[in-house]
């Protein structure tokens, strides 16, 4: 007989993990939406943020609010600085130049984290219990609920920002056509900086929830790889797409792991989302919610 409890457990877990993927994917989407740059260092952003918060908490014994504040502020500064130093000189260069720059950056950051803060896994304890909340047949760790709530909150906030606020509309205008945006008096470079800073904020939050879940070390950067199936499924520039893509990836991962792993001996979780991504690229290359026009760069 079909085990509904088991299925429900996989689904709930998939949804919560999926929303946490959405949070990280959001950082990627924000940058792509505003600047057309593909950020291959998103996972490393999350790792660096995780390090910052974990070190502030563990090494300096800062209270949680301060550690989170430091993480957020540092990542905002990091976003602005990165745009100014690395990406601004690349404006008007081929897209490949930006891609290569972010790939290089990801390698640098992956080396930089352990170099400065050591290679051991640091805990990032949040003042919530480890005891799973039992809710009928389901039991879920509180950290996942926190992660999911934070994701939804920020996804909604950024969704509102882009749709309704004047700054958000200006940012979309910049993404649509940089030169025309300039002619409208929009300071394009400032919006680029803002987009990277927003990616920094989202990465800091991602670093906290993921770091708390997995512990902070260099492997935390690997969650960044999950960004690609998420954004390709959802659409590179779509916030609702990031939510939906995250949910799909979370669910597929868990269901695949739950039903296929016992037969093949594990590992399905790691490749199922990518398999889905490849299929999605064949069917709908611009994602579920992506802009349907083909970009002519």
């Amino acid at each position: 007989m079909f085990d509904w409890y088991f299925f429900g457990l996989l689904m709930s877990n998939g949804i919560l993990i999926g929303l946490m993927y959405s949070l990280i994917a959001l950082g990627f989407v924000l940058v792509y939406k505003a600047t057309d740059a593909i950020n291959f260092a998103q996972g490393e952003f999350v790792m660096i943020a995780g390090f910052l918060v974990a070190v502030a908490l563990g090494l300096y014994g800062a209270p949680l609010w301060l550690a989170v504040g430091v993480g957020l502020a540092a990542m905002i500064g990091f976003g602005f600085g990165l745009e100014r130093v690395v990406l601004r000189p690349l404006i008007g260069r081929p897209v490949v130049a930006v891609i290569m720059a972010t790939i290089g950056l990801s390698a640098v950051l992956r080396g930089f984290g352990p170099l400065v803060w050591g290679a051991e896994t640091r805990p990032l304890p949040l003042p919530i219990s480890d005891e799973p909340i039992v809710w009928g047949p389901l039991f879920v760790p509180p950290i996942q609920i926190l992660g999911a709530v934070v994701s939804l909150l920020f996804l909604a906030a950024f969704g509102w920002f882009f749709l309704k606020s004047r700054k958000g509309i200006a940012m979309r205008a910049v993404a649509d056509n940089q030169q025309v945006a300039m002619a409208m008096g929009i300071n394009v470079e400032r919006y680029f900086g803002l987009a990277w800073a927003m990616a920094g904020v989202v990465s800091a939050l991602g670093g906290i929830v993921w770091g708390s879940l997995l512990g902070v070390d260099v492997h935390l950067a690997l969650v960044g790889f999950k960004v690609f199936p998420v954004v390709i499924l959802g659409g590179l520039d779509s916030i609702p797409g990031a939510i939906l893509g995250g949910l799909i990836v979370g669910l597929v991962e868990n269901v695949a792991a739950g039903y296929i792993d016992p037969h093949v001996g594990g590992g399905t979780k790691d490749f199922a989302p990518y398999l889905l991504m490849i299929i999605a690229l064949m069917v709908r290359p611009y994602g579920i919610f992506g802009k349907p026009t083909i970009e002519r760069v």
Binding site: D176, I186, K291
Partner: protein
């Protein structure tokens, strides 16, 4: 009010595009800049609006002055704030934004929300078709609506000078007339100064009060619109009129000589 004094523009550090261009735009008037493709008309506009920099061009000699202050080399967002807005040729709307969002983006330099709202109402009053299409993605508007939208979007910054680049490009003649009428109304009712770049000399000279003719990065002719309309060269090369009864062979010789004089 707006004056270009003998400016020279170089792209990429080597390509000389404008070779000493002087243009004066009178306050409250419509000035037109005529010329063939590649004459340097659009470059002239970009030299004013500061957008040259984004294409790796720069003003290397001469100066651009607006209300007595030099503005060459200033970033484009600052020039918009001073009251000069450029409208590109080819109806470059923000395709993925709705009509109304395009207008809001155009009002970026406005600080008060109320002024943005007033601006939107003003644009809808001048261009009623846009109001009906306010929630449509601009990429799906018709060509005429898009041309209206780019003019309306530029109005949102409440400019004193509008640099208008070939609004007639690719539009049906009737629509072109409509657009030109609105430009004329804006000039009269809002005291908007216009610098109009056109290839369609008949239309441009009909609404302008002063005109310049450009060729190969130089101004080769200038005068009041009425004087230009009567100029034999303009008649022949831009208005397509020929001297009735003249013998073709003579004209061909003269044609050649006149071209040569301009190009030297």
């Amino acid at each position: 009010m707006l004056a270009l004094n003998n400016i020279e523009v170089i792209y990429d550090g080597v390509i000389l595009v404008l070779k000493g261009v002087s243009v004066t735009v009178r306050e409250g008037g419509i000035t037109t800049l005529l010329g063939a493709n590649g004459a340097g008309k659009t470059t002239t506009l970009k030299a004013i609006s500061g957008l040259l920099r984004s294409e790796r061009g720069e003003v290397t000699k001469g100066s651009v002055e607006f209300s007595g202050e030099r503005i060459d080399g200033r970033p484009p967002h600052e020039i918009v704030k001073r009251g000069i807005v450029q409208i590109f040729e080819g109806r470059r709307v923000f395709e993925h934004l709705t009509t109304e969002e395009n207008l809001i983006a155009g009002a970026h330099i406005q600080t008060s929300r109320q002024r943005v709202q007033e601006g939107i109402e003003r644009v809808y009053a001048y261009f009623p078709p846009l109001k009906e299409r306010r929630t449509v993605q601009a990429g799906y508007l018709s060509g005429g609506e898009q041309q209206m939208l780019v003019i309306g979007r530029a109005l949102m910054s409440h400019p004193r000078v509008m640099l208008l680049d070939e609004p007639s490009l690719g539009l049906a003649p009737m629509l072109v007339e409509e657009i030109f009428e609105i430009v004329q109304r804006l000039n009269r009712e809002e005291r908007l100064t216009v610098l109009l770049v056109e290839q369609n000399a008949t239309l441009a000279l009909a609404i302008a009060d002063h005109g310049y003719v450009m060729e190969n990065g130089r101004i080769v002719l200038d005068g009041t619109a009425d004087a230009l309309k009567e100029n034999a060269d303009i008649k022949e090369f831009y208005l397509g009129l020929t001297e009735v009864g003249a013998r073709k062979s003579y004209r061909d010789v003269k044609h050649y000589k006149r071209r040569k004089r301009w190009l030297s």
